[in-house]
C-alpha cells in the first residue's frame, strides 16, 4: 500500500517547484505558461488522491473538467503570446512595461 501522505507531499513538491519556476523564469512567458501547466498537474494529483480518500468519484470528474479548462486556457494564452510577439518582437516580461507610473 502507498500512504496518502506520499501523494500529497509529491504534489506539494511539484506545486512549489512550479511557483519557484515562475520566480526564476522572468525572461520567458512561454516557460511561465509551462510552469502553470505543472501547477495544474499537481492540483490534479491532489484532487485524485483526496477523491480516493473520500471514496467519491467527484474528484476524478473534477480533474476531467480541469483538463478541459486548461486546454482552452493554454490555447488562448498561446494565441495571446503570438499576437504579443507579432506586435512587440519580444516575449520578455521586462520589456513589456508600456505603462509608466
Amino acid at each position: 500500500m502507498i500512504p496518502i501522505s506520499y501523494y500529497l507531499i509529491l504534489s506539494t513538491i511539484i506545486f512549489t517547484l512550479s511557483v519557484a519556476g515562475i520566480f526564476l523564469n522572468r525572461k520567458n512567458i512561454l516557460v511561465l505558461l509551462m510552469s502553470l501547466e505543472l501547477m495544474f498537474l499537481s492540483v490534479n494529483f491532489n484532487l485524485i488522491t483526496l477523491g480516493n480518500y473520500l471514496g467519491d468519484l467527484t474528484g476524478q470528474v473534477f480533474v476531467f473538467f480541469v483538463l478541459t479548462v486548461v486546454a482552452a486556457e493554454s490555447a488562448i494564452g498561446l494565441a495571446l503570446l503570438i499576437v504579443l510577439f507579432r506586435n512587440k518582437k519580444t516575449i520578455d516580461v521586462d520589456d513589456l512595461s508600456e505603462l509608466k507610473g
Binding site: M1, I2, P3, I4, S5, Y6, Y7, L8, I9, T12, I13, I14, T16, L17, S18, V19, A20, G21, F23, L24, R26, K27, N28, L30, V31, M34, S35, E37, L38, L41, N44, F45, I48, T49, G51, N52, Y53, G55, L57, Q60, V61, V63, F64, F65, L67, T68, V69, V70, A71, A72, E73, A75, I76, L78, A79, L81, I82, V83, F85, I91
Partner: protein, 198 residues
C-alpha cells in the same frame, strides 16, 4: 518494500527531476520536452492510483494536443536562447526560498492536522462496475451532465478566441461584401444622362 511502493518511489523521483529540468533549462524546446516526460510519469502515477481513464486522457490530450501546441509556438516564435543572465542569478535565492518555505509549511500542515495520514491511497471506487471508465462515464453523464455541456461551451470559446486573436486580414484578398451588395440602390448602378446629342 512491495512493488507498488517501489514503483511509486522510482516514478515520483523521476517526476521531480524532470520538473526541476522544466524550470531550469535555458532552451524552451527542452523545457517543453521535459514537460512531456513529466506528463508521462504522472500518467503512470495516476494509473497506480486507479484513475485509468484520466491517465490515458492525460497522455492523449496533454502530450498529444497541448504540448504539441506549445512546441509549435516555440518553433514559430524563433526566440534566441536566453543565457543564464544576471536576473536569473538574482532571482535564484528567491526561488529556492519560496520552494523551501512553501514545502515546509504545507508538509507540516499535512503531518500535523490531517487525520488518517497513513490511509491507503490505492482504493478503487465502484459505482456501477469494476471498470474505472464505466464508473466515470456513469457519474459524468448523470450527475454532472450540465457541467459537461458547459465544458463543451468553454472549448468552443477557446477555439473562437484563438482564431479571432491570431486572424490577420490580408488586404490583397478579393472577396464579396454582402452588406454592400444588399444596400445597393438603383442610382448607384444606373446613370441616366440627358441632353446628349446624336
Amino acid at each position: 518494500m512491495n512493488i507498488e511502493l517501489t514503483t511509486f518511489f522510482i516514478f515520483s523521483f523521476l517526476l521531480i527531476v524532470t520538473s526541476i529540468k522544466v524550470i531550469t533549462s535555458s532552451n524552451p524546446v527542452l523545457s517543453a520536452i521535459y514537460l512531456v516526460f513529466s506528463f508521462f510519469l504522472s500518467a503512470v502515477l495516476w494509473l497506480l492510483l486507479g484513475a485509468e481513464f484520466l491517465s490515458i486522457i492525460l497522455i492523449l490530450v496533454y502530450v498529444g494536443a497541448v504540448m504539441v501546441l506549445f512546441l509549435f509556438v516555440v518553433m514559430m516564435l524563433d526566440i534566441n536562447i536566453a543565457k543564464k543572465n544576471a536576473a536569473y542569478i538574482k532571482y535564484l535565492p528567491v526561488g529556492i526560498g519560496v520552494f523551501v518555505i512553501f514545502n515546509v509549511l504545507i508538509i507540516f500542515f499535512f503531518i500535523n492536522t490531517f487525520e488518517n495520514i497513513n490511509y491507503n491511497a490505492i482504493n478503487s471506487i465502484n459505482v456501477i462496475s469494476e471498470s474505472n471508465t464505466e464508473n466515470l462515464g456513469y457519474v459524468l453523464f448523470t450527475d454532472y451532465i450540465v457541467e459537461f455541456e458547459i465544458a463543451g461551451l468553454i472549448l468552443l470559446l477557446g477555439i473562437l478566441s484563438a482564431i479571432v486573436l491570431t486572424y490577420r486580414k490580408n488586404p490583397n484578398n478579393k472577396y464579396q461584401n454582402p452588406t454592400e451588395q444588399i444596400d445597393v440602390e438603383k442610382k448607384d448602378r444606373l446613370k441616366i444622362i440627358k441632353g446628349l446629342k446624336e
